[in-house]
C-alpha cells in the first residue's frame, strides 16, 4: 500500500490528532451504547419475570450471599477509581504511575472474578445451578426460582465475561506501557479502556441491588 506522508501517530485517514482522538472517543461511546442495549435486553427480561414472580424471586434471592456481593461492589468501585487514576497519569504523561495504577486495577478485577468464582462454587454445591440437578425448597417455588437463577447466571455470567475481557485488554496494555510501545504514548488508548471499564462497573452497580437486594 502506498504510504503517504502523514504526521507521526496519526492514521492515514485522519487529518490531525484532534480528529483522530475525537473519533476514537465517539467510536468507543457508540460501542458502549451497543453494550447498554445488549445488557438492557437481559435487564428487561429480568424485570418482566420479577414483576410476575415477585414472591418467588424474593425467596430465591435469599440464597445469594449479600456480604460477598457487597465486597465485590466495593472492589469494583475501587477499581473504577484506580482506572480513573490510570487515565489521569496517562494524561499527565507519567508512565510509572500509570503502570502502577493499571496493575492495581487489574488486581482488583481479578479479585472480583475470584470472589465471583467462590459464589458460583457455593451455588454449585447447594444445587442451585439450573438444570437437572437444580434443587430448591420450598418446592412450590421450584420453577420461578430456577428462572431466577437462570437469569442470575445469565446476567452475572455476561458481566463476568466482560470483566475477563477487561483484564485481558489491561494486561496487553500494561505490557505495551512497560515496553514504551509507540501505540500507547498517547493517553487515548488508556482512556478507551477506561471507558469500557467504567461501563462494566455501571452494569454491576445495577446488578447488585436488582439481584442481591430484592426488598420484601
Amino acid at each position: 500500500m502506498v504510504q503517504e506522508q502523514a504526521p507521526q501517530n496519526v492514521s492515514l485517514q485522519f487529518e490531525d490528532v484532534h480528529q483522530q482522538n475525537e473519533s476514537y472517543i465517539v467510536g468507543m461511546w457508540t460501542f458502549l451504547v451497543t453494550e447498554i442495549m445488549f445488557f438492557g435486553a437481559v435487564f428487561a427480561t429480568y424485570l418482566v419475570y420479577r414483576v410476575a414472580n415477585h414472591t418467588a424471586f424474593w425467596e430465591a434471592h435469599l440464597r445469594l450471599d449479600i456480604p460477598l456481593g457487597f465486597i465485590n461492589t466495593c472492589v469494583l468501585l475501587t477499581s473504577s477509581l484506580t482506572m480513573a487514576l490510570t487515565v489521569h497519569y496517562a494524561q499527565r504523561q507519567m508512565p510509572k504511575q500509570q503502570l502502577l495504577w493499571l496493575s492495581v486495577t487489574m488486581a482488583l478485577a481479578m479479585a472480583f472474578l475470584v470472589v465471583k468464582g467462590f459464589e458460583y462454587h457455593h451455588k454449585y454445591v447447594e444445587g442451585l445451578i439450573p438444570g437437572p440437578n437444580f434443587r430448591f425448597e420450598p418446592a412450590e417455588y421450584f420453577r420461578p426460582a430456577q428462572l431466577f437463577f437462570s437469569l442470575y447466571f445469565a446476567m452475572t455470567g455476561l458481566h463476568a465475561l466482560h470483566v475477563l475481557i477487561g483484564v485481558l485488554v489491561m494486561a496487553v496494555m500494561a505490557v505495551l506501557i512497560a515496553i514504551r510501545h509507540s501505540s500507547v504514548q498517547d493517553f487515548i488508548p488508556v482512556e478507551l479502556v477506561g471507558l469500557y471499564w467504567h461501563f462494566v462497573d455501571i452494569v454491576w452497580i445495577f446488578l447488585f441491588p436488582l439481584l442481591y437486594l430484592i426488598p420484601r
Binding site: Q8, N9, V17, H18, N21, E22, I25, V26, W29, T30, L32, V33, I36, M37, G40, A41, F43, A44, L47, V48, V51, A52, H54, I66, F70, T73, C74, L77, T78, S80, L81, M83, A84, L85, H88, Q91, R92, Q93, S182, Q185, D186, F187, E191, G194, L195, H198, F199, D201, I202, I205, F206, F208, P209, L210, L213, I214, P215, R216
Partner: protein
C-alpha cells in the same frame, strides 16, 4: 510521542481530588442501598424506588466524572444519553404490555 504541547488543548485533566470525592460518594451510596434493603417492614414499591434511584445516581456519577462526559463534547453527551434513553423506551413499552394485559377495553370502544 508526547503531543506537541504536553497535552491536547481539548483534553481536560480531572484533578485527583475530584476522583476521590466521587469515589467517596459512591461508597456512601452503596452503604445507603444496602441499608435501605434492610429497612424493617414491607415497603416493596418504596424500596424498589430507593434502590433504583441510588443506582442511577451512582451510574450518573461514574458517567459524568470517571468517564469524563461532564468535560466532553455535545456529541458524547448525545450518545451517552441515547443509549439509556432507548433502554427506557424498551422497558416502558414492553412492561406496558404486561401491566395492561388485564385491563378490559374501556366503555365506548365496543
Amino acid at each position: 510521542m508526547a503531543l506537541a504541547n504536553g497535552h491536547d488543548s481539548h483534553t481536560h485533566i480531572v484533578p485527583i481530588r475530584v476522583y476521590l470525592l466521587v469515589y467517596a460518594a459512591l461508597l456512601v451510596l452503596l452503604v445507603l442501598t444496602v441499608g435501605a434493603a434492610y429497612l424493617p417492614g414491607r415497603h416493596t414499591l418504596l424500596n424498589n424506588v430507593i434502590a433504583l434511584t441510588i443506582a442511577i445516581a451512582k451510574a450518573v456519577l461514574v458517567v459524568l466524572y470517571f468517564m469524563h462526559v461532564r468535560y466532553s463534547t455535545r456529541l458524547t453527551w448525545l450518545w451517552a444519553s441515547a443509549g439509556f434513553f432507548w433502554l427506557l423506551i424498551m422497558f416502558i413499552l414492553t412492561l406496558g404490555d404486561y401491566f395492561t394485559r388485564h385491563w378490559v377495553p374501556a366503555i365506548g370502544w365496543e
